[in-house]
Amino acid sequence: MRNLIKSIGALAALGMLALGVSSVAAHHSSTMFDHSKSVTIKGTVVELRWVNPHVTLTINGSLSDDEAPSEWLLEMTSPGNLVRAGGWRRDAVKPGDKVEIVFSPLRDPDKKGGALKKLTVLATGEVFTANIREQEKPGLE
């Protein structure tokens, strides 16, 4: 029985890998996103996950007016770096907020996701960025 469970587990793991799916968190490179491209999307905030090492933002949005809205998942750096480099807060955006986002899309065109570069809250005009290389001098305020 134990061997059977092990075999099922191994097959499940192989299947997950074949699908490109895993459950291991880590600090990772961001070249799964195509940084040569900038795409703009408008939508409604579903959830901001304020977690290490990468914050994520889920929105319900579309790339153009004639496209039906769907869920997009955008990734950023860690909370600490977002606070300093991009002016973010845990409550920078809340579910239901209308936003415009500039992002680098995933290279896989079938996946709706990307690396967030800039977010504008449409109601207030407040802007948040995510470039951690913008804090490379001492004595920043």
Binding site: A26, H27, T31, N81, I132, R133, E136
Partner: protein, 281 residues
């Protein structure tokens, strides 16, 4: 009952000597316990003579990027092929996970590729480094004159001893787990495979710039010691105060379960580490 003088002056002392001898023979040869002595007022006062490394130090990431090309480690032939493959995969949008399972970036890779800030604390006999983003970024550098342990007990950050040469902290680190990667980016790095030895000279290079000059000896993957410098900027604004970071939360979403309790539930990740999907609330 009365005892004879023989009993008092000969038999009793002989019995005591015999008892002590038996006890000594049975007790193992126990080394005296080495303690960390309580710091004196002078020990605390001496800390004020050290250079001021207070504040929060954030890394010069763009220099880390540049050194990937300008100052690569002297990989051996086998390692070089693996690194070349990793670069190709990264370029193709399939970046290898070097730091998986939220394990520590470890020494010296934390110093080499971190994107987050650190702080450095001086206490008598010790320098402590605390890093952001993962709770597991901690280095204890003993400056009390001790040596490395005789029996190796490898850890992710190794065993570090340090001493001051003028205003430079010289740190010697051994006993790093063989699985700890020598990483030059978040997608290029190899397990050191054992016997790694790191020597650092940490010093201010200007009022608010800290340099960590590293010499990395990793004989299983490098052909010769690799010298590199990592640069950190001092910040005093409170928004730079280091915040708690728990890497595992990246695998999880905050939810309320059927019983009304606040819980974490898994999200879906890719084999490259980014988040693919978050469960609905």
């Amino acid at each position: 009952m009365k005892f004879s003088p023989f009993f008092h002056f000969v038999a009793v002392p002989l019995a005591l000597v015999a008892a002590v001898s038996i006890a000594s023979a049975e007790a193992p040869n126990k080394a005296p316990t080495v303690i960390n002595p309580p710091p004196t007022a002078q020990d605390w006062a001496d800390l004020a003579k050290l250079p001021d490394w207070s504040g929060v130090w954030n890394p010069k990431i763009s220099d880390q990027d540049v050194q990937v090309k300008t100052n690569p480690p002297p990989w051996n032939e086998t390692a070089a092929k693996k690194i070349e493959f990793m670069f190709a995969e990264e370029k193709a949008g399939r970046p290898r996970l070097i730091f998986s399972y939220c394990l520590p970036e470890a020494h010296p890779s934390w110093m080499l590729v971190t994107h987050n800030a650190l702080e450095i604390l001086f206490t008598p006999g010790r320098v402590t480094m605390l890093g952001e983003s993962d709770g597991n970024r901690i280095r204890r550098i003993y400056t009390d004159g001790r040596g490395h342990p005789e029996i190796s007990d490898p850890t992710f950050h190794g065993h570090s001893i340090g001493h001051w040469e003028d205003d430079t902290l010289v740190v010697d680190t051994v006993d790093i787990v063989p699985q700890a990667p020598l990483a030059i980016s978040e997608a290029a790095g190899l397990p050191n495979n054992g016997d790694m030895h790191v020597i650092e000279r940490i010093h201010l290079e200007g009022k608010d710039i800290l340099h960590d000059d590293l010499e990395i000896i990793a004989p299983k993957i490098l052909t010769k010691p690799w010298k590199t410098t990592r640069i950190f900027f001092r910040q005093r604004a409170r928004k730079f105060d280091i915040v708690e970071g728990v890497c595992e939360t990246g695998d999880l979403a905050e939810r309320v379960n059927a019983e009304g309790d606040s819980v974490f539930v898994p999200v879906e990740k890719s084999i490259w580490g980014h988040t693919l999907a978050v469960p609905a609330k």
